[in-house]
Symmetry: C2
Subunit: 156 residues, 2 copies
């Protein structure tokens, strides 16, 4: 049951164990301690500790206080859409911006090359045309983000 749910999150480039932890917490009605995870998922203490901190930094799980128990307990946040939005802003957006700058950089480098004569006229023509296409494509992709965000907000 949990394995399947864990696998679901593994698709997103996260470490396996973090996905498992989230899956377990997401389906569990009470907050769990680190060694609950160790026992239920048969992973090492180290993995559990690292995975939990990872997910907590990322905002996917929360640390909660359970009276009468010294141990830290964790529970999963319920709003996945919000989580996705946040990760988009944190991970995807910066990358898109970075590649935008990179593209501009390539362009100016190309112009230097053609002045130095290491790139011929026709080559330059073709290459810069392709780069322009690439920029247009890049803009379209960037345009998807905001729309997707709106779609996630709609409650039906």
């Amino acid at each position: 049951m949990v394995e399947a749910a864990g696998g679901l999150f593994q698709l997103l480039g996260l470490p396996r164990s973090a996905g498992q932890i989230f899956g377990l917490l997401y389906l569990s009605d009470k907050a769990l301690s680190l060694d609950d995870m160790v026992k239920r998922l048969s992973i090492s203490k180290g993995s559990a500790s690292m995975g939990a901190r990872h997910l907590a930094n990322w905002g996917a799980i929360r640390q909660v206080w359970v009276p009468g128990d010294r141990r830290d307990h964790y529970e999963a946040v319920d709003d996945l859409s919000q989580l996705l939005r946040a990760s988009y802003a944190e991970f995807v957006k910066p990358r898109l911006n970075a590649s935008e700058r990179k593209l501009a950089g390539i362009f100016s480098e190309l112009e230097r090359d053609v002045e130095r004569g290491s790139v011929s006229g026709p080559e330059f023509k073709f290459c810069s045309e392709r780069l322009r296409t690439l920029v247009r494509f890049h803009e379209k992709v960037q345009g998807i983000g905001p729309v997707a965000e709106k779609l996630l907000n709609i409650k039906e």
Copy 2:
């Protein structure tokens, strides 16, 4: 110049070398042979061969015939939007469907568990509520695909 372009594609989970090859071909005005790639990218013949075939199967590059040269030559396709659409249909869509089925499977497993008594009533309530939320979320995500597709088609 090409390194940067190569890195651009590496972000998508493809093997590094395939990204480099595509970058090189995309910015080159003439079709290139396998050992052009070997020389310009300093990768091994094996990598070049595998990477090229990989990209060709994927539809990102085309094999072209250059008269008077026995070697195979490759050129990049120019329509990136189309490429992206195709990959969505080929890779993302099936996965989404798979996880849809998987979700249904978890659900029925949960019901079996509650009948066997290995899951208590409140647990079941909470868990199935979470699963329902997950399904709704999943549907929203699925809804993004078609819209994104339309956005990519718009030419401005």
